[in-house]
C-alpha cells in the first residue's frame, strides 16, 4: 500500500517524523499550558491532549503526503490536506512552539534541536507552498 518515496517528498517525511517527535517527547506545549493554569487532573489532561494531539494531527498529514499517498483519510481531512490551510496551520503551530521556547524558556535554556527543527521546517513549508502555488496558478 505504501507509495514509493520521491526525493521531493523526503523533507515532508522528515517533517512528519519531527512532528511525531514533538508529539511524543516534547514538553514545550505541555509545560506552557500548565504554567498558565493551576495544576489539577483536568488541566494536566488538557495539556496532554494539546501537547500530543496537535503535532500528531499535522504529522499524519505529512506522512500521508510522503509515503502513504494511497492511504485514504477522512474526507474533510483529505480536503484540508489539498488546501493551503494545512500548511498555514502547521507553520502557526511551529511558530507557537518556537515562540514559547524563545520567550518562556529564555535565552538560557534552549531546546536547540527543537528550535532548529521548527524554524527549518517552517521555512521549508513556506517555500514549498509557494512553489506549489506557482505550479497551480502560473
Amino acid at each position: 500500500m505504501a507509495s514509493k518515496l520521491t526525493l521531493a517528498e523526503v523533507p515532508l517525511l522528515i517533517g512528519g517524523l519531527f512532528l511525531i517527535y514533538l508529539a511524543v517527547l516534547d514538553e514545550t506545549l505541555f509545560n506552557f499550558v500548565l504554567d498558565n493554569v493551576t495544576q489539577n487532573q483536568f488541566t494536566v489532561s488538557l495539556a496532554t491532549v494539546i501537547a500530543a494531539a496537535f503535532p500528531m494531527f499535522f504529522a499524519v498529514g505529512f506522512i500521508k503526503r510522503s509515503i502513504l499517498r494511497r492511504w485514504q483519510t477522512i474526507y474533510y481531512y483529505e480536503k484540508m490536506l489539498l488546501g493551503e490551510v494545512f500548511w498555514i496551520l502547521t507553520v502557526i503551530l511551529l511558530s507557537i512552539i518556537t515562540f514559547i521556547i524563545v520567550s518562556e524558556q529564555g535565552v538560557h535554556q534552549f531546546n536547540a534541536h527543537i528550535l532548529a527543527g521548527c524554524i527549518l521546517f517552517s521555512v521549508y513549508l513556506v517555500i514549498y507552498s509557494f512553489k506549489t502555488r506557482q505550479k497551480s496558478y502560473p
Binding site: 511524543v24 493551576t38 487532573q41 494536566v44 496532554t48 491532549v49 500530543a52 494531527f57 499524519v60 474526507y75
Partner: protein, 372 residues
C-alpha cells in the same frame, strides 16, 4: 449509503474515537505512586529585604530608615505560605523529605549582601516554624547570595537519593551581592532545581523566570497573599504527588492516526471479510455405503524391480536366467533359450504343482494363476 452520509458517518466515528481517547486520558491522569515519589531536600529561600516589610520612616525610593512588620506587610503572607508549605510535607522523624530555611537581604547601609541559613536541612517542623516566625525584613535584595548559600548547604549535606530543590521567594530586584543568574548556573551544576516565586508588582520577573529556566525548575507569579499561599501549596503538590500523564498521552497519539485513517481501516476490514467469505470450503464427502453391495477394495500389486509385472489371468513363466516373461506353455525361454519349467506354488502349503493344476495336489487349495 450516499457519499455525503458516509463522510459524516466517518467524521462521527472519528469524533467518537477522539472523545473516548480524551475521556480515558482524563481518568488515566493519576497521582504517581508514593513509592515512586523521590526524596527531597528542600531549601526555602526567602527574601527578607526591606520591601517585604512596611516602611514607617521615609520611603523605599528616597531611603527608608525604619522598617516594621504590619498586617499589610508582604512578609506576613510569605510567612503564612511558608508555614503551610512545611505543614504539607507532614515532617516527622521518619520522613523522607528534609526542609531547611535560608534568607537573603542586604545590610542596613544597603551595600553588604547578607545571606544566612536560619534552619539547617532536617525534618523538625517545629524548628522550621520558629525560624519562619523569626524572620524580620530590612536592607537590600541579595538574591544571588541567597541561592548560593542554599546551594552550598545542599551540596555539603547531600543525600545520594534525594533531589535538591530550592523554593525561592522574592518581591524585588536583586541589587546587592552576586548575580542571581551566575548563582543559578552553579546551582544547576550541582543538580539543584529552583522553583522561583515572584511576589508583588515590583518583583524581578525576568530574573526569576531565568533562574527557574536555567535549573529546569518552574516559575510562579503571585500577586496577592492568597495567591502566594496557593502557589506554595501547588509547589508542594507538584513535589509530593506529581501527576503522571504519559500513559494518557500514548492513547491520544494512537487515537489521532486511527481516526484520520478510518476509510483505509474500513476498506481493509471489508477486504479481509470479503476474502474470508470467498474462500472455498473444503467439503469431505464420504462415499455412501450400501449394505447390499460389498465394498470393493483395490489392492495394488507390489512392485519389485527384480520381478517383472505379471498380469492376473494370463500365466507367464519367468526365465530364471534372463528374467524374460514367457508364455505359460513355453518350455524354453524365447529370449535366451534356457529351459523354463512352469511351476505353480501353493499359497497355502508352498507345494510346487504343475502349471496345468487348478488345485494343490497336497492340500486342495486353489492355485490357478499363481506362477513362479
Amino acid at each position: 449509503m450516499n457519499p455525503d452520509s458516509k463522510r459524516k458517518y466517518q467524521l462521527g466515528i472519528g469524533f467518537a474515537i477522539f472523545a473516548f481517547a480524551v475521556s480515558v486520558s482524563y481518568f488515566s491522569v493519576v497521582e504517581a505512586d508514593t513509592e515512586d515519589t523521590p526524596q527531597y531536600d528542600i531549601y526555602l529561600v526567602i527574601d527578607v529585604s526591606g520591601s517585604m516589610g512596611t516602611c514607617t520612616d521615609g520611603n523605599y525610593s528616597t531611603g527608608c530608615y525604619r522598617v516594621e512588620i504590619t498586617s499589610g506587610s508582604p512578609i506576613v503572607p510569605a510567612k503564612r505560605a511558608a508555614v503551610e508549605f512545611v505543614d504539607t510535607f507532614q515532617l516527622n522523624r521518619s520522613s523522607d523529605h528534609r526542609i531547611g530555611l535560608a534568607i537573603f537581604h542586604g545590610s542596613d547601609s544597603g551595600n553588604t549582601p547578607i545571606a544566612k541559613i536560619i534552619v539547617e536541612l532536617g525534618n523538625n517542623s517545629k524548628n522550621l516554624k520558629q525560624g519562619i516566625d523569626s524572620l524580620y525584613p530590612g536592607g537590600g535584595t541579595a538574591m544571588g547570595d541567597g541561592i548560593s548559600i542554599a546551594t552550598q548547604s545542599l551540596w555539603e549535606d547531600t543525600r545520594p537519593d534525594a533531589k535538591k530543590i530550592i523554593v525561592l521567594l522574592s518581591d524585588g530586584v536583586s541589587n546587592v551581592g552576586s548575580d542571581p543568574l551566575i548563582a543559578a548556573g552553579i546551582a544547576k551544576d550541582n543538580d539543584v532545581t529552583i522553583f522561583s516565586v515572584a511576589y508583588g508588582p515590583d518583583a524581578d520577573v525576568q530574573t526569576l523566570k531565568a533562574v527557574a529556566s536555567i535549573t529546569n525548575g518552574k516559575y510562579y507569579n503571585a500577586s496577592t497573599g492568597q495567591d502566594l499561599a496557593d502557589t506554595f501549596g501547588e509547589i508542594a503538590g507538584v513535589l509530593i504527588s506529581p501527576l503522571s500523564h504519559y500513559s494518557s498521552r500514548l492513547l491520544i497519539l494512537i487515537a489521532i492516526p486511527v481516526l484520520l485513517f478510518i476509510p483505509t481501516i474500513e476498506r481493509g476490514l471489508t477486504t479481509m471479510m470479503k476474502r474470508a467469505e470467498d474462500k472455498p470450503v473444503e467439503r469431505i464427502v464420504k462415499p455412501k455405503r450400501t449394505e447390499d453391495k460389498p465394498v470393493e477394495r483395490i489392492v495394488k500389486p507390489k512392485r519389485t524391480e527384480d520381478k517383472p509385472k505379471a498380469k492376473i489371468g494370463k500365466l507367464k513363466i519367468t526365465c530364471p536366467n534372463c528374467n524374460h516373461l514367457n508364455r505359460s506353455t513355453s518350455k524354453v525361454c524365447a529370449k535366451c533359450g534356457s529351459t523354463v519349467k512352469a511351476k505353480i506354488t501353493c499359497p497355502n502349503c508352498n507345494y510346487v504343482n504343475r502349471t496345468t493344476s487348478k488345485f494343490c495336489v497336497k492340500c486342495g487349495s486353489t492355485v490357478k494363476g499363481r506362477v513362479t
